[in-house]
């Protein structure tokens, strides 16, 4: 019973993951779009596939984040018409976005290394 109380409940786990994701949504989006310009629907699919189902973005999270990054000048959205006639809004990373991504990656690597030193001590 005591052990159960000390463990994270499912709700707490979900909240913890949500907090982690919230802090890293922008970095994940910049990183994905840096590989190849893409559009909203495909971003959700790619994130899900690339993380083996771990990241399941909701549209309500994705579009405000994309527009926020665009407004900050880190992304640029452009409408493209497909041969089928359908239009899609593709996002491209800007030079400012690439610089921001490089900075975020450096911070993330330092943070992850520091967390690993504490949580997984080698000896």
């Amino acid at each position: 019973m005591l052990i159960e109380n000390r463990n994270l409940s499912e709700v707490q786990k979900v909240n913890y993951e949500r907090e982690l994701l919230k802090g890293n949504t922008d970095s994940l989006l910049l990183s994905l779009i840096n590989r190849q310009p893409t559009y909203g629907y495909k971003i959700i699919k790619e994130l899900e596939k690339g993380s083996k189902g771990y990241f399941q973005f909701k549209e309500g999270t994705l579009y405000p984040a994309l527009h926020r990054l665009e407004r900050a000048g880190l992304l640029e959205g452009k409408w493209q018409k497909l041969p089928s006639g359908q239009e899609r809004r593709y996002y491209y990373i800007t030079a400012k976005g690439q610089k921001s991504l490089a900075e975020r990656m450096a911070v993330w690597q330092n943070f992850a290394a520091a967390v690993a030193l504490i949580m997984e001590p080698s000896g």
């Binding site: 549209e59 309500g60 579009y63 405000p64 527009h67 407004r71 959205g77 409408w79 899609r88 809004r89």
Partner: protein
């Protein structure tokens, strides 16, 4: 979403394309069109929440926009603080700047900074009404009874038109009205108590710093409105700071208006700030096409 028409159209088109993609995928996986429509609607979550989040992305103006929005109030504050009323040059200069700023903003997408400028463009409508009081004998009443409904109609029409875009912009436009009305009533009572029914220069000099202060706080209010993201916070800023300004004026030792008058002005502020929300509900919003799931799915 109450966004700029171009941005709103982009967001709606983008989400519509997303819905079509998702629906097509679900139909391919074996769902009927009806089931796919239902599943897509469920997965999109609350449209109000998405709209709120997108609004908050675009609702924050830059510092330049905040300064530009505060500028007409700052000009009025400077007009009194630096005694510019004595110079025809400054008087005409400020009028030209206000009219010019309003016309420029009106024809350049009606950005948020336009509305304080537009509010000052309504002053001539009010000023003419005040000047009618000085007509001889019964003419004043006759002219006022014809003019007041006309003036109210003009102000109401402009407010309604702006409320169609977003009612908080109408509140922003009407913001200085209770404060100006307060000062007009204050100085008018003093003038009636003085000689010949006119205000003396000494009296104007005496009150100029306080008038300037109220308009400087108004400038701060508008700049804060532009910079905050949340809608409730924007309305809260307008309401709170307006009531604080009126409170400062009411608590001044030299106030010539009685407490009932000040309560009336505070009530007027609440009506002018929150009232445009009612105007927005009546005219049907036409900007941005509604989201609907079409049966044609093209890839």
């Amino acid at each position: 979403m109450r966004l700029d028409a171009v941005v709103e159209n982009d967001v709606v088109r983008e989400i519509r394309a997303h819905i079509e993609d998702k629906k097509h995928e679900l139909i391919e996986s074996g769902l009927s069109e009806k089931e796919a429509n239902r599943a897509v609607c469920r997965s999109m979550g609350s449209p109000e929440l998405v709209a709120k989040q997108i609004y908050e992305v675009y609702s924050q103006g830059s510092w330049v926009q905040a300064i530009f929005a505060a500028l007409p109030h700052l000009l009025v504050a400077a007009f009194f603080a630096l005694h510019w009323w004595q110079s025809t040059f400054w008087l005409i200069g400020i009028l030209a700047a206000v009219v010019g700023g309003a016309i420029y903003g009106w024809f350049h997408g009606k950005p948020a900074w336009l509305f304080p400028w537009l509010g000052y463009c309504l002053i001539p409508v009010i000023a003419v009404g005040i000047l009618l009081v000085y007509l001889p004998g019964g003419w004043a009443w006759l002219a006022a009874s014809a003019y007041v409904p006309l003036a109210l109609l003009i102000i109401f029409s402009v407010t309604k038109k702006i409320a169609k875009k977003d009612w908080v912009f109408a509140s922003l436009m009407l913001l200085p009205a209770p404060i100006m009305l307060g000062w007009i009533m204050w100085l008018w009572i003093l003038a009636l108590e003085g000689h010949h029914g006119f205000l003396s220069y000494e009296q104007l000099y005496e009150f100029a710093p306080l008038i300037a202060l109220t308009f400087a706080v108004l400038a701060l209010t508008v700049a804060t409105f532009i910079r905050v993201r949340q809608r409730w916070l924007k309305v809260g800023v307008l309401l709170t700071l307006e009531i604080i300004i009126l409170g400062i004026m009411a608590l001044s030792r030299k106030s010539s208006i009685n407490p009932v008058g000040w309560i009336g002005l505070i009530l007027l502020s609440v009506i002018l700030i929150l009232g445009p929300a009612l105007l927005e509900k009546y005219p049907k919003r036409t900007s941005g096409k509604p989201l609907h799931l079409s049966s044609k799915s093209v890839r």
